[in-house]
Symmetry: C2
Subunit: 222 residues, 2 copies
DNA sequence: AGTCAGATTGTGGTTTACCGTAAGGTGTTG
DNA sequence: CAACACCTTACGGTAAACCACAATCTGACT
């Protein structure tokens, strides 16, 4: 079993539960971080000291407060950690249950497991840690495995996400052409953008653009 | 101090932390509920048995799963509980930090305290329980008190919320007139609706309607 | 190079949104 | 009841979104 584990979670309440599980799994050294930056720092330090963490259990959302942080989400933390220590195992542990966001974690950040905080957390997290240790693939709870099958989320690519994102921050379709050209995003003609928005509306069964953005927000796509 | 407390939270992980705090406060009887319906049932039963709960600590969001529930949010649970047992004290305990939603809890459901799940949860919840026991007003953490001062949320009334809500589910301004008349919402002329949407856009500094709805969703207004 | 399918862009017309202004209603006050 | 402010509704013009169709470009294959 892992011997040195870091838990990154901004809710102090969760430490107790995590500690209990890791004790049951006979993990010797457990450290905690309440901020992303703090977590990265600890991982870097341990790495330099020649006693690296073997597992990071991280939440996704970290509340902003008076402390200024460079990293402000689990995604950013994980990307930074992977860059620094590619060998560390990473399990994400969050209440987020929207397939799209979770899918991205596996596909782009190559995490080693995902546990939804819920009614069976204690059991699920324990299993996930064991699976991560044994390098088992598809390290998610059964209900999530089902969610990840959902096509809806797979057929929405980065272009779509950025398009909807820009719509949601008030860029009109008129101006989208200019913005896309500045950002080097293609296709970027007014006509193409209209067409793509229209496709997305059909795809998500949205009556209009307002509806589309609301749906995308609900699904966690933006 | 309270002697009988119910905790309604669907994340099993949180039970440990809550139990620790309540033990420190010498609360004798602590019960847990993972579903809203379950929580209401326990409260009803205790009431009928002549040994009612004195305090309910409830989360706001409860995940849906295979179990069908009549009540599906903390708000619904609290409304139902208040109806049944007006004397029970209620503290809401959630990660929700958006002023608008919290404000509604105090103004319409008359809760006795609010604690944001965060880095100081253990301290904050303990204080909140003591304050609720002593009937102290404004039972929130200092940072939240500041948030609740924010005017933004006070000046948005029910009409605005419904308007934005309908926009977000794909009702065009064209059709809003018909919908509002059916629902008995007034004013309902196309002109009035246009005007109100326009006001809201100015208020929230939104470039267009899409942007407005996105902002409203981010603020937790809808 | 030539062909072709599919993607991208362009164009014109229709609908909806947007915005200013004016007309109509309602309630208050002297 | 006249005067007034304020709210609601109506109207008209402009801009943006929407939609169908046509033109152009692109890359793969022969």
């Amino acid at each position: 079993m892992f011997t040195k584990v870091l838990i990154a979670d901004d809710i102090d309440f969760n430490d107790l539960g995590a500690a209990q599980i890791l004790n049951e799994l006979d993990v010797l050294e457990i450290q905690y971080a309440k901020y992303c930056d703090e977590a990265l720092l600890k991982i870097k330090k341990a790495h330099l000291d020649g006693a690296p963490f073997q597992l990071l259990i991280s939440d996704l959302s970290f509340k902003a407060d008076h402390q200024l942080n460079k990293l402000n989400s689990g995604e950013e933390l994980i990307a930074a950690v992977k860059k620094q220590c590619p060998n560390i195992k990473i399990i994400v542990f969050s209440i987020e249950d929207r397939a799209h966001r979770i899918k991205l974690l596996f596909d782009e950040l190559h995490i080693d497991g995902y546990v939804i905080k819920g009614r069976n957390t204690i059991y699920d997290l324990k299993r996930a840690i064991q699976k991560a240790y044994n390098n088992e693939p598809e390290n998610v709870s059964p209900e999530l495995l089902y969610l990840l099958q959902d096509k809806t989320t797979r057929e929405i690519d980065n272009y779509d996400v950025r398009l909807i994102k820009y719509l949601s921050i008030g860029i009109s379709q008129e101006n989208m052409e200019t913005v896309f050209k500045q950002e080097g995003i293609s296709p970027n003609s007014k006509s193409s953008i209209e067409k793509q928005v229209s496709k997305l509306k059909i795809y998500f069964k949205a009556n209009n653009t307002v509806h589309l953005v609301a749906i995308a927000k609900d699904l966690g796509i933006i």
